[in-house]
């Protein structure tokens, strides 16, 4: 249809590589301030349609950019991300800038501190452009749960970008930032990356500090980067990763040069393909695209073999029990007392809590809080929450056994490509079921990368999920580079 074709591809623009831009800034051919302003111009032009940014941090960005330009002019050494324009998902706090978490309950809230991952980017010289739209409290798979309106997929603006980090994925796909930070609890980096055709990284749990990430499910939440190129995503991970005393779950493991690890050839690597991820429910065009990706890995010298992850079918209910239970606890802090929205004219404290939360939270958030509270309540704790945590151990151990036989596991990231706005929002359970390929890795704590892997016949991006064992992001990046190089 002519009208439809007009929107397909109009907003898609691939950012340049970090290396290319760095070279220009080092040589003085490009000023960081000019680069930032160019991005703000583009944002001004297309954000009204795509609704990617919720707020801009222009003053801070330009101060940082000037700092970079001064250093470049003097010939001082420049940190690794000097001048690179980056967007931040609105669940990560930036001091003095709004942090809504996509919710009305935090409308007007300005956090008094920076998230560790944000601070690390800035120390590395990055220019932080603004806060990116997302599903409310990171709960969702389409960015339709944002209290500030959905994000539109730059590939086709009648379609969702995926979620919950829809803004983060769309920003890179539309070159509204060279890279972004998002968060992933059950697939919220990987799935929007696949829907928008960009690279998204799920770091190992504990690899990146959660300090300053507005919590959804504390045993599952991860902060991770989006970029247009695997090597750039790897570079970003090296910057934001590392032990943080402010996050008690932060790993003391040393952080390697992930970009260098990603340069290594894949010949001889053993790649596992789990049958459970290629069964019913997988869209035929997605299957074809992923099979081409697997063929590319074989051509590059990988040994592809089947692996078995038989408990996969229990992953979605397990995830939604664990995540909602933890969310019900984490979201108890939003009570109108110390920050955010307070419902006016409540007679008692209890009424103030109830009204503030009822008026401030959206339907999906309320649904998950209720589900989680129910699963934890007396009489149901054993049957639901405890049971889920036992199944979680089974799922994690299945992965450990599989990684004894293979170096990486590849799967489709999503059983379907980007769907139309409104198509699934009436059926919460259907939305949950679409997370089937991503939640197991979330529960097990392992790492992974979504790498673009071709497209459907109508041009919708398909993503391949490359999973690796705990702390083995280097292997995941290496395999992802090989898929990227095949230019499917």
């Amino acid at each position: 249809m002519a009208g439809e074709n007009k929107t397909v591809g109009t907003y898609i623009q691939k950012p340049r590589t970090l290396a290319a831009v760095r070279a220009e800034i080092l040589s003085g051919n490009t000023k960081a301030t000019d680069l930032a302003n160019t991005y703000y111009e583009r944002i001004g032009q297309i954000n009204p349609r795509l609704n990617v940014y919720l707020s801009l941090t222009r003053d801070r960005a330009l101060v940082q950019a000037s700092r970079v330009d001064d250093a470049a002019k003097k010939g001082d050494p420049l940190p690794p991300l000097a001048g690179i324009p980056i967007g931040i998902k609105d669940v990560l706090v930036m001091k003095g800038a709004p942090a809504t978490a996509g919710s009305k309950i935090l409308e007007g809230y300005h956090p008094p501190y920076d998230a560790t991952a944000v601070a690390k980017l800035e120390t590395a010289g990055a220019v932080l452009l603004g806060k990116l739209n997302c599903d409310e409290f990171a709960m969702g798979s389409s960015n339709e749960n944002s209290a500030y309106g959905p994000v539109r997929n730059p590939v086709d603006t009648e379609r969702v970008p995926g979620g919950s980090s829809g803004g983060s994925a769309a920003a890179v796909a539309a070159n509204m930032a060279m890279a972004t930070l998002g968060s992933d609890t059950g697939g919220s980096i990987r799935q929007p990356a696949s829907f928008c055709g960009v690279v998204g990284v799920l770091p190992t749990y504990g690899r990146v500090s959660r300090y300053g990430l507005i919590a959804f499910a504390s045993s599952l939440d991860r902060v991770g980067p989006f970029a247009a190129y695997v090597r750039d995503a790897a570079s970003l991970l090296s910057v934001i990763a590392g032990h943080d005393p402010k996050d008690a779950t932060s790993s003391p493991a040393s952080v390697p040069d992930f970009a260098a690890l990603s340069d290594e050839p894949v010949e001889g690597l053993r790649i596992g393909v789990p049958a459970e991820y290629f069964a019913e429910g997988l869209d035929a065009e997605v299957r074809t695209a992923i099979e081409k990706g697997i063929a590319a890995l074989e051509a590059a010298g990988c040994k592809v073999k089947p692996v078995s992850l038989p408990s996969t079918r229990y992953a979605v209910p397990t995830y939604y029990l664990v995540a909602t239970a933890e969310a019900s606890a984490n979201l108890a802090r939003f009570d109108g007392v110390r920050y955010g929205y307070r419902s006016p004219e409540s007679e008692t404290l209890s009424a103030m809590y109830n009204h503030s939360r009822d008026e401030g939270f959206g339907a999906e958030v309320k649904r998950r809080i209720l589900l989680g509270t129910y699963a934890l309540s007396a009489g149901y704790y054993d049957a639901y929450y405890l049971k889920a945590q036992q199944v979680r151990r089974l799922l994690a151990e299945e992965y450990l056994r599989a990684f004894a036989e293979v170096d990486a596991i590849v799967t489709p990231t999503s059983p379907i490509p980007a769907f139309k706005l409104g198509e699934k929002s009436g059926d919460p359970l259907a939305m949950y079921l679409a997370d089937i390929y991503t939640v197991t890795a979330s529960l097990a704590g392992i790492c992974g990368v979504n790498v673009p892997c071709g497209a459907t016949g109508s041009g919708l991006p398909v993503g391949m999920q490359v999973l690796a064992a705990h702390m083995n992001e280097g292997t995941a990046f290496r395999v992802a580079r090989a898929v990227e190089a095949a230019e499917l």
């Binding site: 229990y314 009822d358 309320k366 209720l370 129910y374 979680r392």
Partner: protein
């Protein structure tokens, strides 16, 4: 466990979660919760006798490593004025809230 959630249970759980559902929200919420919980009952197909729950992936041992402790030492926290700037209602020292107890 395929027990259907009742309206009374939803209201009790909402009370626990300090969420006040409007009358028109109760029906649809009940419907979604029941559909989701029915689906979750599939977990009962798995025999998990004797399996220790996995609450934190760091419990997986060698694969991930141990959790990290630090000395229990107080550190300066946030400046009060900065915090009170975000408060809905304050006398600049305390957060002001409606009464807790009926006289």
């Amino acid at each position: 466990m395929t027990a259907k959630v009742t309206v009374e249970e939803v209201e009790r759980v909402a009370e626990l979660a300090h969420l006040e559902l409007k009358p028109e929200e109760v029906g649809p919420m009940l419907g979604s919760l029941n559909a989701i919980l029915d689906y979750m009952a599939e977990l009962n197909q798995l025999d998990t006798t004797g399996i220790a729950p996995l609450a934190q992936v760091s419990e997986l041992g060698d694969a991930v490593g141990t959790s990290v402790l630090r000395a229990d030492q107080g550190q300066p926290s946030l400046d009060r004025a900065t915090v009170m700037h975000e408060a809905p209602e304050t006398d600049q020292v305390f957060f002001k809230v409606p009464k807790v107890i009926e006289r």
